[in-house]
């Protein structure tokens, strides 16, 4: 699998009728196969909208998105999407949730169960395969969500603030887990977040976005050595970059914050911790 992503002159609009506004203005990015890219920006800057377009749920008003040269038209398993609140099927056990993608591909029952169990162990949930999602903690649910997407061996992994609803400790554990799993599979990752620490810790490359309208204001490589550890967070190099990002992000903050929009184009739900009040 390769997973080269091209975003060419994309303009996007969100909302209906009188509330329609321009979420993204002339965004162009080229992402190499296997790159871990973080989209960093405040709520409402269009990063989730861009992710939705990459996933195939939203169509751009102008411009084009391509993966390995092919235009993105509709959702597809090779562009896996992980939401912030899990979307596991409550009526399926963990193993059946994870194996779902293979079932849709027509893989035989025994084989897909075996592959699902393998992946479940890989994300550290061995022993929980017979549970229902409602019987898991938030962090565990997100792990199953990630496993469910990864089983399709996607070329691009799209993640919309996947750890945003978790507490700080769980978040740190999940970031570590994600990097470990990614080191094995090396799929292209586009990771959306508003947390600077998270973005700097995870990414090979950082795209900073600003709002009103959404556009990319900074694009830099992060050359911190891999594998990355929590100690990185307190090194001077990290702190300098963080300061730089804070400056960039606060530059546009005088204006009223925009409502947060999900990758499906809908306003964030009432219980969403990241929704603007």
């Amino acid at each position: 699998m390769s997973g080269a992503v091209e975003i060419l002159g994309v303009h996007m609009e969100v909302g209906a009728g009188a509330e329609r506004f321009e979420a993204l203005h002339d965004v162009s990015v080229s992402i190499a196969p296997g790159e871990f890219v973080c989209l960093l920006g405040p709520s409402g800057c269009g990063k989730s909208t861009l992710l939705g377009a990459l996933a195939g749920h939203l169509a751009p008003a102008r411009g084009e998105l391509r993966v390995d040269g092919e235009g993105v038209r509709a959702p597809h398993p090779e562009r896996g999407l992980v939401f912030q609140q899990h979307t596991l099927f409550p009526w399926l056990r963990v193993v059946d949730n994870v194996a779902y993608g293979l079932k849709m591909q027509g893989v035989a029952r025994e084989e897909r169960r075996a592959r699902a169990l393998e992946l479940i162990a890989r994300v550290g949930l061995a022993g929980f395969e017979s549970r229902y999602p409602a019987q898991l903690s938030g962090g565990m649910q997100q792990r199953v969500e990630i496993a469910r997407v990864l089983i399709n061996r996607p070329r691009v992994l799209l993640m919309d603030e996947p750890f945003g609803a978790l507490d700080a400790l769980a978040r740190a554990r999940m970031q570590q887990l994600l990097l470990e799993v990614w080191a094995d599979i090396r799929t292209t990752v586009v990771f959306v977040t508003h947390d600077i620490d998270e973005a700097l810790f995870l990414a090979d490359r950082l795209l900073v976005m600003s709002a009103r309208p959404g556009r990319i204001v900074d694009d830099r490589r992060l050359d911190f050595a891999r594998p990355r550890t929590q100690q990185l967070l307190t090194t001077p190099g990290f702190a300098a970059l963080k300061r730089h990002c804070l400056d960039l992000l606060h530059h546009g903050q005088a204006a009223m914050p925009l409502p947060r929009v999900t990758p499906l184009g809908a306003p964030a739900e009432a219980g969403d911790p990241l929704a603007v009040q």
Binding site: H57, P77, T87, F89, Y100, M104, R148, T262
Partner: protein, 292 residues
């Protein structure tokens, strides 16, 4: 009680150091409180008993209050007699059999039509636009009001009664199914699409399981209304059936039978509804209590 021991069974010379009070207590143990559940059960028994006793009193004394009279109301004793008689009679099986067949057939038809239509209406805007308006027009009509038309439309008396039970069960099932489909989380559908679910697979793999709790509610309610409609239909037409038996008891002046019929109807109605709920819970194991 031995004065050397306080109520906790400790010898008074060994009082706990934390207590600043004199060791000796009254020396008598408190009786344990009766369990709250036992009390609640007793209360229920007493209140039901009082109701039955009051009924016996009113009926046996032929109490007459002008606007309401108990002159012809059967006593609990008479009802019990009629019950025993019915239990021993070969007609019981026949009455029950007919009622069960009518409910079963009507409910099954309503379940198939209601769920299928509900899924289609819930999922396809075009279907909703065309089919929902006429259905909404028919909905307020109580099933019982259909009886005369049903007799005209169906030459077979049995089918005309099954039609009534069908109509009775249809609307709760249909509307709860639509509601269930409407309530499916958009994000579940989006994720399913991202995972490669085809259009028709979406129905079986996602929509139906997600809407299942709503459908189950509709089926349980529909079963209840089905019995309700059946009884009215049987009182008016047909032979055999529990509703018919109830009405026949009135015309033959076997007044105790009226009470028996009423109770049997209530029992079967509630019982079958409860059975549906139980079956639904067994079919949807993920709705059992959550463990955090």
């Amino acid at each position: 009680m031995d004065a050397s021991h306080d109520g906790r069974g400790l010898a008074s010379g060994l009082t706990p150091h934390s207590s600043g009070q004199p060791a000796a207590n009254t020396g008598s143990r408190r009786r344990p409180d009766p369990s709250p559940r036992l009390l609640a059960a007793l209360a229920q028994l007493v209140s039901v008993g009082a109701f039955v006793a009051l009924w016996q009193l009113l009926a046996a004394s032929h109490a007459n209050f002008g606007i309401v009279t108990f002159a012809n109301v059967p006593t609990p004793v008479a009802a019990a007699d009629a019950a025993l008689e019915l239990l021993r009679s070969p007609k019981l099986a026949r009455h029950l059999g007919f009622s069960l067949w009518r409910v079963g057939a009507g409910f099954a038809a309503a379940a198939v039509v209601g769920v299928a239509l509900g899924l289609a209406i819930g999922r396809f805007a075009g279907v909703r636009r065309t089919l929902l308006p006429p259905l909404e027009l028919l909905r307020p009509i109580p099933a019982v009001a259909w009886i005369p038309l049903s007799i005209l439309m169906f030459p077979s008396t049995e089918l005309s009664m099954v039609f009534i039970t069908f109509v009775g069960a249809l609307f709760p099932i249909l509307l709860n199914t639509i509601h269930g489909v409407d309530g499916v989380d958009r994000r579940l559908v989006a994720s399913a699409r991202s995972l490669g679910t085809g259009r028709w697979q979406m129905f079986a793999q996602v929509i139906v399981p997600a809407a299942a709790p709503g459908i189950a509610t509709g089926l349980a309610i529909g079963m209840g209304t089905c019995w309700f409609c059946l009884v009215s239909a049987e009182m008016i037409s047909g032979q055999f059936g529990i509703g018919y038996y109830t009405w026949e008891s009135y015309t033959l002046q076997n007044y105790g039978g009226i009470i028996v019929g009423m109770l049997v109807i209530g029992l079967f109605g509630m019982g079958s509804s409860a059975l549906i709920r139980l079956a639904a819970r067994a079919a949807m194991p993920w709705t059992a209590g959550e463990v955090s």
